[in-house]
Symmetry: C2
């Protein structure tokens, strides 16, 4: 009975230690909750998020990491943070190998000659190969093919991704993209084709990073649009050999340096502690990166901006990060985690918006020591409830660029977006501004503003605690 007041006193005196052995429950004041509810309504009526996405996708457009547009995007983000009233704006360097796409063509040869719409997978080498196509229903079927059975042939993994609100089938789609080429090479293949990891029915192929296992010689690897995969499957079903010519001009070319661009709204009483929110600034090259991830940049910049406009700043600072090169291996998120690994306990919590622009439907937080903040998380969820968001205890996890920091012990928040349509557009030329519903975007801004404000103004932590980690996987 005597211990509790002592812990409480410690917690008040040293909030950053409040996650110690027997922490007090993290608190949210009535005043803070009221302010958050007002902020929510204000954000719903505000179009800052939309304007930011419009500006980025229009004025910069595609901005693949290492491309000519990459530094333009970095300059744009710095200027936008400043224009939106962020107190501090800076950049942190991120270096990575540079991959370039120059041209890509493919065609069925022979009796049924016709072109195929496809796109090189990120990381594919250049090459001009011609061979008979061998179809596999999924990755397991390719992996089960006899050794050497694809010698001189082109593997085709024909798995159709299924749409779901939580996008869970992207597990299959992204595995086929990342592991398929190496599996095909092991069987002797000279080229790799996959049905796009997508749920649309348009002649736009879905790119995305692939990798080749060490010791293998990479082969040209590409994704067919869904209608083209259907067409190739139908041609194969005719029962005669189908030969395809695959011509890719693309490949790795040295390294490039880009930047995580960071804007901060300074906290009132604990300015060195930060709530991190963000999206990634880079995009793939064929769309204009609207849902992936102009939306995340716009949502979190707008949320930070709206908090910055309040009369009374929350206790802690709001740090908005536009991460560099997420697409090719979380380079920005890894660089941030590495640069800030000794400041884990100064990071109250972090969340990335990187699953499109659909409405948020669920919320949760997590950390190495989450117990004390469970009630606060539920309270935040109550303020989010009018947005159609439910509290989902024990669900979720950190967004991609938050992952490396979470691996170091940083608490994370999960604001789950409806991704039913996400893989209609993801990594395709169709990822353009017109696909975003401004009202859904404003709902996202409202949710991020509420969450970030309350987390920043809380009495006590969400359980960030430094831990030793094995390097996060890509």
């Amino acid at each position: 009975m005597r211990l509790a007041p002592l812990v409480l006193a410690l917690a008040v005196a040293c909030p950053s230690l409040s996650h110690a052995a027997q922490p007090a429950a993290t608190g949210l004041s009535a005043q803070s909750l009221d302010a958050a509810a007002q902020l929510r309504e204000q954000a719903l009526a505000d179009d800052t998020g939309w304007k930011v996405v419009e500006s980025l996708t229009t004025e910069i457009g595609p901005r693949m990491a290492g491309s000519e547009a990459d530094p333009k995007a970095v300059a744009w983000a710095q200027a936008k943070f400043k224009a939106l009233g962020f107190d501090k704006v800076w950049t942190e360097p991120v270096t990575f190998p540079k991959w370039q796409r120059r041209s890509e063509h493919a065609a069925v040869l022979g009796e049924h000659a016709q072109p195929l719409t496809l796109t090189a997978l990120g990381g594919s080498p250049a090459g001009n190969v011609q061979g008979e196509v061998v179809r596999f229903a999924d990755l397991a079927a390719l992996e089960a093919a006899p050794e050497g059975s694809l010698k001189g042939k082109i593997a085709f993994v024909d798995y159709q991704m299924v749409a779901a609100r939580d996008g869970r089938d992207y597990g299959n789609g992204s595995r086929i993209r990342s592991r398929g080429p190496s599996a095909a090479i092991r069987k002797g293949a000279i080229g790799y084709l996959m049905r796009s990891a997508g749920t649309d029915s348009h002649r736009v192929a879905h790119t995305g990073i692939t990798r080749f296992d060490e010791g293998l010689t990479p082969v040209p690897s590409a994704a067919l649009s869904v209608p083209d995969a259907n067409q190739l499957a139908r041609l194969l079903a005719l029962g005669k050999p189908v030969r395809v010519q695959l011509d890719l001009d693309c490949g790795w070319d040295g390294t490039a340096t880009s930047y995580n661009v960071i804007g901060e709204i300074t906290g009132s009483s604990l300015p060195d502690e930060v709530v991190v929110i963000g999206g990634h600034l880079d995009s793939w090259d064929q769309g204009t990166g609207a849902i992936d991830d102009g939306a995340g940049v716009g949502i979190t910049m707008a949320a930070g901006h709206l908090i910055g406009q309040l009369k009374h700043a929350p206790k802690r600072s709001i740090r908005v990060i536009a991460f560099a090169n997420e697409e090719q291996g979380l380079y920005g998120g890894k660089a941030y985690a590495e640069a800030h690994k000794d400041q884990v306990r100064l990071h109250q919590i972090g969340a990335e918006s990187d699953f499109g622009a659909g409405r948020i439907y669920a919320f949760n937080t997590g950390s190495p020591a989450a117990e004390a903040s469970r009630a606060a998380t539920a309270k935040i969820a109550e303020v989010l409830a009018p947005l159609g968001i439910e509290y989902a205890p024990d669900k979720g996890g950190p967004g991609p660029d938050i992952g490396p920091s979470a691996a170091h012990g940083m608490a994370w928040a999960w604001l789950a977006q409806d991704g039913t349509d996400y893989f209609n557009l993801h990594h395709t030329p169709d990822d353009t501004l017109d696909k975003i519903d401004p009202k859904a975007l404003a709902q996202n801004v409202a949710a991020y503003a509420v969450f970030a404000y309350l987390a920043a103004d809380a009495d006590g932590s969400f359980g960030s605690e430094k831990k030793e980690v094995t390097p996060p996987s890509e």
Copy 2:
């Protein structure tokens, strides 16, 4: 009172004269109507139409007039007619100028540099031009621009087509495509861009034939995808000059000869008289020509096939035509009209299916002397009614390739398809098999089978009557 029996006697003795000064009403026997109703139900349960479209779009794929795939499509159509049991199969030559598309690229230059997705308009010359873009809301605005005001510039007509069941706004879209380039050249433009004549929101541009008025030097002319037109309009709205580089490699190259491919089901008592139905065999090059016009070929081949399977053939023959090169100027339809202009009265009636694969919702017929067949048309509509088709007196007109024959006096039927979604796909890479609903296609087959059977088995004509004509416009 004595005249009527005489006319009736003449009509019975000489059916092809039954449209004379005071013709008897065209009749449909109860037996014929019963057979048509049975045919309708049989067609709804039959997948021949689907299989024909699947075969054409898969085995041949894109088949632009004059391309390497064109003779393959001709051979395919002959073989398919034979396989479907048509009694007579033949070809009639169609010669036309050959246009080729090789490559097409465009990009915004300068501060907001980014690529644009577009496609050359059919008939565009090759060229590499660079200039400031001047936007016009519609064709009238371009035509109203001061003389010389576009010197060294690129015109951009930014009209957004509106979707409608009857596709009526294609009037605007196709005018902007056919007349816009000449209007731009008259003002001094070095290049022409238009927002695609389309109602979708995908990164697929809508091609289609254009032409240049005599005495003008053609300039590179292309259509931007709808999202790219949005993007260009937003960039222009920033208020600074926008320069675009337009690189098209395409153009005319001599002439080519293709063929109208014709299959006939022989009539029982008036085999020299024919009901013509058909679609066009050619397609644009970027899709696989599923809705434009694999569907029309499949619907009418299947309708002819099903009539050919009946125990009792209708009186007249069913002639199914897969027209050559509709897309670049109705060459197949014009060649047919010219070759058969002295047989107008042997043509009972004609109809082309060339508005996609949506359900038919209305029916009508017309001719130079339609009065006597009004009641028969209404009777046919009654048999069509269970398909959700209504009789629409005084509406409609001949399909594109029927137009030139109708201009010579051939009666036409109008089976109006729901085209609400048609201009989402029309003339784009997205015109692929997966866009066709097999049930809607079967409804079309049922309607064509009913109409063709009853028109072929009618007592009396639909008013075909040779007339002197001015050449039909394209």
